[in-house]
Symmetry: C2
Subunit: 699 residues, 2 copies
């Protein structure tokens, strides 16, 4: 099935609306690119004041452009955009790149125009890339609708960028190194075509072997996660998020809220999407390039062959930091290495052949390391020296690369004297780095993709025995409240089968006595008032009440304290709850992220939550594996397993609570935050109960 | 006072022993360098088979070389090294670079030769750089005893490298970018001249403004710390440690031992030395270059002026990650910016002037941002575009640099089109990066140096009332034991004025009853045996014993369990100790690092120590400030301060215990590890007591 996005990369003809005859104009640059990189389709400059530009016949209007024309590139001012789009629509062109800026990025006025253009485009069934973008490139067809100078060689990387400037900067940064690309797509304001659309397109393109993304923000989080999860099974997606420190969770009141900022949601969403997140532009292309050219590492054992111990030490540090290790070279391989290398060479890992190394030394060492079954990755390193044939060494590495099934990453530690060899290696599909510490990070990205492919297909947990009537009644109680106290939250949890500590709301002392008798002494008493945020500070908590007599005394004392400390507060009563036996205190919570939805949280609970920050996140819906990972990634998880002789806790009960709170969050989008803290977990088989809980309703 | 190292950089004449006539030999390269970079001294090739090399008269032997000659560079084989050194000594030359390898790096045989050469050199009063190094360079005098191709421009960075290859690789990496250096010193095996000697030399050199170091290992840790602490007050030292993951703490038995690996010791030692540690080669020179060319940031508020929002977002992320922030631009400055910039430009921070920016735009924006008192750092960013005058922009940045007192770091996001501008800026002393995320890490390094300069001069805490006789008696008890149990460790702590929980060793039940009565019930009973490592697992601990009767029962039960579980163990008795009231449990420990000495540790204690890994390290001796930092850096420190309403703990008592354990460790080098875990800390004014402790003697 042909995609509606095909014309952006493989149109039979392209019209440039606003093509200038002035070489100092960007539109001239676009035309220049369209005629410079071997594009075989027709190219039609549209400009009423020209007859010909760059040897191509110019047309007065898009209506005059003959067939075939499948893509329109608009470089006209925003003031004429509606007319222009109408003309393009009338001409029957279904794909438009709007380079022009001046839309949503300038505020509400521009956003209004953008919406109108989108409606118009929809009415003609047109797909639009942009506005406010630099266009699209297909490196193989030569269709380049950008004004960026130069075109990298054809290769495996498809790059999706939400910044046109970053797109241009990247080409400037990598073009000399001969890293190969299949496509570039600068998406601008994403009026119509989004990063998820592009992902779907590149998923089907045979030349795009790996997708690199620069993203500032995602509009439709759930769709992105769904598409990326699917696409990442077919080819790796490497992802750089810019703007990590945008506020986002400024005015939040729960622990989950304050700990789960918007970037935490991004990280959880990217993980769910199966995306490999990196931290810098250079990592983005290093990781993508290796994934696009090399087999995934079979294991974590790396063999280094080098002419410089120092460079190897830096590489080894970065390997260890990224979870890889130096392979133990088999004794018989070490023996063999010794037979031909410099007698002073070190034949254990790193294999150090000393400064004045020859291409043959690398052929010999790498050939033998390749034969070692205890080696998964080959990492040759050369520090150029006067008497060393750098290009010859690069050729030796390539020879090894042709033969080996192992992952091959290389380092030429230099810049002045290494360009030719760097280009040679990259052209041959052998990744090469100038700094020995780069390989570790790349391998970590490759390992992440390997682990992703091993994961079971997504299948969310199913929660049974939900009492929807009870939930509805709890929501009915909440009405217009924003902050929801323990009383109503208890009912919500109950509706979803999560056990609360025995107890109930009592509106006076006599009722309190009844509740206490039913729950069983000793009990705890907590004030219930929408106006009191910090119960403890206001004197609204009394612990360890042993009997009715003490309950009456404590009740009077609490009412006295509250009247004094919170004279304005309207009191709904007191919660009387059984003092629960001690157990491990954990926290289970949810914050609804505006982009990605229910962000579930788990970690060590109690009063030290924000101090310890022992928390993990996942975006709901969750699979069994997700829940296990959430638990395993925390100290709480280690303690639950039975740390240092303490009994193994009821992990199954914790999993069940997480699954149920996740289901509750998915079913009830009006809840913005909900949190159980602490959830007390008892030894295996004895369950877990919520000791305190609260919620925040929608925004 | 002239330094004995002066001839390595500024000799009146240099002789090259083993200078070859063959351009394919390294020694030829050395001679070539000595005559190529403007060195004004005499250059004497020594080669019995040549009359002239590279236009310089050759001498048959070093004895024939005329005055002035102050430095000998040896490129002869290790087999003739002793003779050669003797001849150099006889000739009266006091400085020798031994390029030749084949010494200690090849094992004991080579180490023997190295020691002999060192003795010989000492007998002549000669200083030796190397062996197994690439030599030294003074960029200004042109004295270049290496065979590395090319010489970077003169500038502020003195580079000390323990790897010759890294030295060469670095020159290859940076030479095109025009980063300026004062010296290079490749130290090889450090037979004589060490990194500390070089630090002292560069401290006095007016051209060396900042010292960059690549270090694999330090031989004399205390001297390095002492010298670096002094030098770092005068000029910044930027430090890259290679080989971070060398084992080191393999067979250790205390918590402190297992948590305090050799790299933890390095980090603590580097901090004490006032050294700025970086993680990669590129950071090493980025940080050094900025420190050598720019004023320290007055604060953490950064203003970005850019033509690309994406690049600015990446920069802002890296600023936040490194503890810096985007400045709030004053409203009047924003107004002023608006008057001349593109109407669509964003005038809040980052100031985004859109793609087609002009040099004048940067002059205007940066000039006004410079005038904003709320801005400490200027960070202009340009992504090159077809219609932008990149070099013009670079010149505008330099103009601003001349005027401003603020820190100026810049980014040209490109490679293909930026080299000329990059060279222009670096030559002008304006640091420039290809990736927008590099500036954050650089600023963090600068901030670290600023904080160092603020620190009080080093003045270790003094501990009084040490009972040296008691300590001696405790050490007497230990004799040849390696593992020291609580009984003897208690006495050591007591000798240094650290309070133990009341109790004593009892060799039978009757003595146990007496001790318990003296300590006061309830008590805890622990088995004391050199053969029992895990008391708890063997049934050797009984808690909460309420009275004599119970003590007798528990004693019999324990003896029965031990006899069954540890039939071979020789039992010294039981420790009877008062059950201490609850308090905050912390750990205070020491591991003696073979390089740097007593490494002190503090953190959350109890059984979760290794799970929480809430620990901080400092190398003894400690200052008051050190102890405060040790405490503040941990969660334990936050809890001590009184977290969430709990009472403030007796921090003064904790400080005192750390100071005393540190003194104990300094005074008694025969103790390899010692640890108090837990130290129970009570509310303010109520002290802290050791509840359990142990030590390891020797190594």
């Amino acid at each position: 099935m042909p995609s509606t996005l095909t014309p952006f990369f493989n149109a039979k003809g392209v019209a440039i609306l606003g093509a200038s005859t002035n070489p100092k104009k960007l539109s001239y640059g676009i035309l220049e690119n369209l005629v410079s990189f071997g594009y075989q389709g027709e190219v039609y400059p549209v400009n009423p004041n020209a007859t010909e530009i760059l040897g191509r016949k110019a047309y007065a209007s898009i209506a005059d452009v003959p067939d075939p024309v499948e893509l329109a590139v608009v470089v006209l001012p925003v003031t004429v955009i509606m007319d222009t789009m109408r003309q393009i629509g009338e001409r029957g062109i279904k794909a438009v790149v709007i380079i022009t800026g001046g839309f949503r990025e300038l505020g509400e006025e521009g956003a209004k125009v953008e919406r109108a253009v989108k409606e118009l485009a929809d009415s003609y069934g047109m797909r639009v890339v942009g506005p406010n973008c630099v266009g699209t490139i297909d490196v193989r067809t030569g269709l380049d609708s950008t004004f960026i100078k130069g075109l990298p060689p054809a290769g495996p990387i498809a790059f999706i960028s939400q910044s046109g400037a970053v797109c241009g900067g990247v080409i400037d940064l990598i073009i000399n190194s001969k890293i190969g690309f299949s496509h570039f797509a600068s998406l601008g304001n994403e009026m119509d075509v989004t990063e998820a659309d592009m992902l779907e397109y590149f998923a089907e393109d045979e030349h795009a072997k790996v997708i690199a993304m620069y993203v500032e923000g995602i509009q439709d989080g759930p769709r992105f996660m769904e598409v990326a999860r699917r696409v990442s099974r077919k080819k790796p997606i490497v992802f750089l998020k810019a703007g990590k420190n945008d506020a986002g969770a400024k005015a939040v009141s729960s622990h989950t809220g304050s700990l789960a900022g918007s970037y935490a949601a991004y990280q959880a969403a990217l993980e769910k999407a199966g995306v490999i997140e990196v931290e810098t532009i250079s990592q983005l292309f290093n990781v993508a390039w290796a994934l696009g050219t090399q087999p995934l590492p079979a294991g974590k054992r790396v063999a280094i062959s080098t002419n410089a111990g120092g460079a190897a030490a830096l590489a080894a540090d970065s390997l260890a930091f990224n979870g890889f290790e130096l392979a133990q070279i088999a004794p018989e391989i070490q023996e063999k290495l010794r037979t031909k290398l410099n007698p002073s060479a070190q034949v254990s890992n790193p294999v150090d052949m000393l400064g004045s190394v020859s291409p043959e030394d690398y052929l010999w060492s790498l050939g033998n390391l390749d034969a070692d079954e205890g080696v998964d990755v080959l990492l040759p390193i050369l520090v150029p020296q006067s008497l060393v044939d750098t290009l010859g060494v690069a050729k030796a590495w390539f020879e090894i690369g042709k033969k080996t099934d192992k992952t091959l990453l290389t380092c030429l530690m230099g810049e002045r004297s290494t360009l030719e060899s760097e280009q040679y290696l990259n052209t041959a599909g052998v990744p090469v780095y100038a700094y020995p510490d780069e390989a570790g990070r790349v391998l970590r990205g490759m390992e992440q993709y390997k682990q992703l492919l091993k994961k079971a297909v997504f299948s969310p947990v199913v929660v049974e025995n939900v009492d929807h009537n009870k939930m509805a009644s709890a929501l009915g109680l909440v009405k217009d409240a924003q902050a929801v106290g323990e009383y109503e939250t208890r009912i919500m949890l109950e509706a979803y089968g999560i056990q609360n500590v025995p107890g109930d709301l009592a509106s006076g002392i006599e009722q309190a006595v009844k509740v206490a008798e039913k729950a069983g002494y000793p009990v705890v008493m907590k004030i219930v008032s929408d106006d009191i945020l910090h119960k403890s500070d206001s004197g609204g908590i009394a612990l360890n009440i042993q009997n009715t007599e003490q309950l009456r005394v404590e009740y009077d004392a609490m009412m006295y304290r509250i009247a004094k400390n919170e004279p304005e507060a309207s009191i709904r009563g007191v919660m009387i709850e059984k003092m629960a036996p001690k157990g491990l205190e954990v926290i289970v919570g949810m914050r609804r992220d505006p982009t990605f939805g229910a962000l579930m949280m788990f970690g060590l609970g109690g009063t030290m939550v924000e101090l310890l920050k022992d928390i993990s996140f996942k975006v709901a819906p969750l699979t069994d594996g997700d829940i296990e990972e959430m638990i395993e990634r925390t100290l709480a998880g280690k303690l639950l397993k039975g740390y240092r002789g303490s009994a193994k806790a009821d992990i199954q009960a914790v999993k069940d609570v997480i699954a149920r709170l996740s289901q509750l969050s998915l079913d009830n989008p009006e809840i913005a935050e909900i949190e159980i803290n602490p959830l007390i977990v008892y030894p295996e088989g004895q369950g877990a109960i919520s000791l305190d809980s609260r919620a925040i309703m929608g925004k």
